[in-house]
């Protein structure tokens, strides 16, 4: 078939292997509930708190699965990626646990706080110019010189199998879920959710939540093929990247719908979660709740798992305190 991804499609056996492989390196994160949000939405909500995860986000699941699945010979040469977000932190954390080199290519214009965070987890940063061509060129050079293994932030079967362990846990922690909703950017978390739940609990509906300002996945879903935007602008900075063939495979086969929220709705939901649940989470993690509040007819009376994907936020620059 023409829409079969060029990459290996991970199976449920890969998820089981990932779960065992990463167990010593990641947290089994707690599930929180809130009577306030249950009343507000009319649904019964279960928040899977990956903001409490190692390195502050679910991404450490996929990164750890990739790093600890490498042969000794491959591992010696280290791993590399280009990202300025949670994947870079997570890959640095996982490589540090295995004691192998990790190189992160980042634009020289990336915020110093993000560079410091990667360095804090032991990552070596190689700077590039803030353009796709410079990034690709610089990255190719890093890989050519070091022989490091490229771990893509989401379009990678090892990463998707790792992310799948999150929904497996959630399904163990909460009985009889009707639906699970998670944010969608490149689609790694959603693909993992599809991979896990389609095997262990195929009746659970899977929703993805996306910023309206970066709704390329929602438009792809409607169009039936990948639509990639150039540089969408949203406060949910983890969700700007487009789907790729492997994540499109899972999204197009298993997702019930992709819902969107405006920037204001995202910020309002984020602040309300901080205020009522007393947890620190990043803007991307607020998108699912924003869409649940916006679409009561879909979720009312249902038991809904919401994946809080991460908690790495700049405490000096909170979105509700920024000038418009």
């Amino acid at each position: 078939m023409s829409d079969t991804p060029s990459l290996y499609i991970p199976t449920f056996d890969d998820v089981l292997a990932a779960k065992e492989r990463i167990a010593p390196h990641v947290h089994r994160t707690p599930v929180l509930t809130s009577s306030f949000f249950n009343e507000l939405t009319g649904a019964e909500l279960f928040f899977k708190c990956e903001n409490f995860q190692k390195a502050g986000a679910f991404k450490v699941r996929g990164a750890s699965n990739a790093v600890f699945g490498l042969s000794e010979e491959m591992a010696e040469k280290g791993v590399a990626t280009h990202s300025s977000g949670n994947h870079a932190l997570s890959l640095s954390y996982a490589a540090g646990r295995r004691g192998i080199p990790v190189t992160v290519v980042m634009p020289r214009t990336a915020p110093q706080a993000k560079k410091d965070a990667v360095k804090g987890y032991g990552g070596v940063i190689v700077e590039c110019e803030p353009s796709t061509s410079s990034r690709e060129e610089t990255f190719a050079q890093v890989v050519a010189e070091s022989g490091a293994e490229f771990v893509h932030p989401y379009n990678d079967p090892r990463v998707i199998a790792g992310q799948a362990t999150c929904s497996m846990e959630l399904n163990e922690q909460v009985d009889n879920l009707d639906a699970v909703i998670a944010p969608i950017g490149g689609g790694g978390m959603i693909s993992g959710t599809c991979l896990a739940l389609s095997n262990i609990a195929p009746d659970i509906k899977i929703y993805a939540a996306e910023p309206l300002n970066a709704d390329d996945a929602a438009r792809s879903f409607k169009a039936g093929h990948i639509i990639a935007d150039d540089a969408p602008d949203t406060i949910a900075d983890g969700l700007k990247v487009p789907l790729k063939d492997l994540t499109w495979h899972f999204v197009s086969h298993h997702v019930t719908d992709i819902l969107t929220a405006t920037e204001d709705e995202i910020v309002d939901a984020m602040k309300l979660i901080w205020k009522r649940m007393k947890i620190v989470m990043e803007p991307s993690s607020a998108v699912p709740l924003a869409t649940v509040i916006k679409n009561p007819e879909i979720f009312k009376g249902k038991r809904v798992g919401i994946i809080i994907t991460g908690g790495n936020v700049d405490l000096d620059s909170l979105p509700w305190l920024n000038d418009a």
Copy 2:
């Protein structure tokens, strides 16, 4: 003896009764750990997260014990207090659960956010002028007219027995603690901690943590009698009130030491907890960790319970974003 409090001194039986009485109305809050903070301090820390408690703070334990311990006849007339903080919220929450009236006397100058929060939990606010004489006069009038039962924020045996359930839980959740540390203002939480632990685990040392800017409890502890300051100024606004005879009884008999932290140390510890543990907690709750970081020689190698007392903070005015 001349230093015997005028009030009834609650016993461990009162704590057991409180535990059963309040169980339907409060959360058994989780205990979190952090490898980051264990490395930073050289101690093994266990954070008892009362920021996740109903109404956002441990105070709901004591307030619920007072409210649900009232006879039907007393309950009908309602409860009243003067407080602009977590006790007012908690008493309003507990009275709402029992379906009885609750009146809170607050200065007309109190922040609108605090008034709204009390109203949000169903409390009726009676405003007074921002002076002690006006508050006392107004409060006396409220009680005279309604016959409402006064529930003091801390110098009340019912309240102390309720707060004691927090350390009882902590001791069930974590084995072999060497020490427990909690913030001290009026001394309600610390008194409850003393009452619980001196009965069930008398080897656990109890430390109190106080802002240096409001160190009346530390000075009282050294002097051997209560020293009450007029209006101390600290970012830890839950800790400005002085000890009273009942709380002094517990503090003077069971506390090992009272440690202090500067405003900067408190704000730094608060921000670091938000950043690394991804939890929202109020400035008062950061004082214990600030003193643990400051006094490694006391806590190194020890298993230390830290009570995170509450999470009610104004998200529009975070202390590290304020101008100096």
